[in-house]
Subunit: 202 residues, 2 copies
């Protein structure tokens, strides 16, 4: 059985990673969303075990000391991370896994798992990103400024990724992501081969 | 303007390259089929300027001596080739080009144009390929045996390609090809970038 594909979707905060992920998961049910752990509080409507596994700072720090994370990052004072064991289990079972993580985390995955597929989700313009971050309305003014500055710096890291997808329309971005996964599965370097290659011995 | 993508579809004779190509061209009208030159006679229903540009042996040999071909091959005593100038013109204009060629030709393109995307179309099994080649009915018995032997040898070259697609159902194979093209266009290594990357100078 072929190992599952680890697909990492990242991009600046506010670019719409979550929305695009949900759309992608609808069109490709075999893809499983990896659940991140976080110490931040749930936003209205968020539930533990769905968007994130919400946890305490002390448990998170204990897991760090146990080297339990494939990647972890601190974003605006809150911890986010992906448990190594869960990822390895899914991939080993042949399940394709989608990680929706921030840029610090994505680059850790790049270093640790060279075979991961890294996709950068970019906004159609800085203006659009500005409006999306401001429109979220859950942040105070100082945090908003910091987010915009961070977003510009984050955009400059796109060249460290395998693919870049522009989130102009959610459907189009999800279609591109789906195509990337389909194409990766056809790669000879990932083990794609004819079903019953029987070459005559001469 | 980004250069067009050169997509090479190849695979053993009888695997169904032509049918899959036609389906792909329907779903992706921006993709242009590169017209090969050949010295073989048109099959029933084939028209010059559509399936191939049918030409004479002496003209073909003159073009070879002028180094006019990106690739050319002799298959069962007939010449097939792709004119370099036409390919360069299309790619330079940003047009994505599809080459449906045999394995000898595909490997020449690999050597000459490293950025070409090489896709190997494989049959779901040797049995199916056998039936397809026999079913074509345009070949005599000796030619059929040679084709089958050649097909087995050709299948063993799949690892020289970037992608492998199994032609089980034509629609599925065409969808995979379309996904590969879509994904290649999102590759950062091919120049995909955010539309207006303005990074603050510090």
């Amino acid at each position: 059985m072929a190992a599952g594909l680890l697909v990492v979707l990242s991009g600046p905060s506010g670019v719409g990673k979550g929305t695009v992920c949900r759309r992608l998961l609808q069109s490709r049910p075999s893809l499983q969303l990896s659940l991140s752990l976080t110490t931040r509080l749930p936003r209205p409507g968020e539930k533990t075990g769905r968007e994130y596994e919400f946890t305490t700072r002390s448990r998170f720090q204990k897991l760090i000391s146990q080297d339990a994370f494939l990647e972890w990052a601190v974003v605006y004072g809150q911890y986010y991370g992906t448990l190594k064991e869960r990822v390895e289990k899914s991939l080993g079972e042949g399940t394709d896994l989608l990680l929706e993580i921030d840029i610090q985390g994505a680059l850790q995955v790049r270093r640790r798992l060279g075979e991961a597929v890294l996709i950068f989700l970019a906004p159609p313009s800085m203006e659009v990103l500005h409006r999306r971050i401001a429109g979220r309305g859950t942040e105070d003014a100082a945090l908003l400024r910091r987010r915009l500055e961070a977003a510009q710096q984050e955009l400059a890291t796109y060249h460290l990724y395998d693919y870049l997808v522009i989130n102009n329309r959610v459907e189009d971005a999800a279609t591109s992501l789906d195509a990337i996964i389909e194409a990766e599965k056809c790669k000879v370097s990932r083990g794609a081969r004819p079903p019953d290659l029987e070459v005559k011995q001469r």
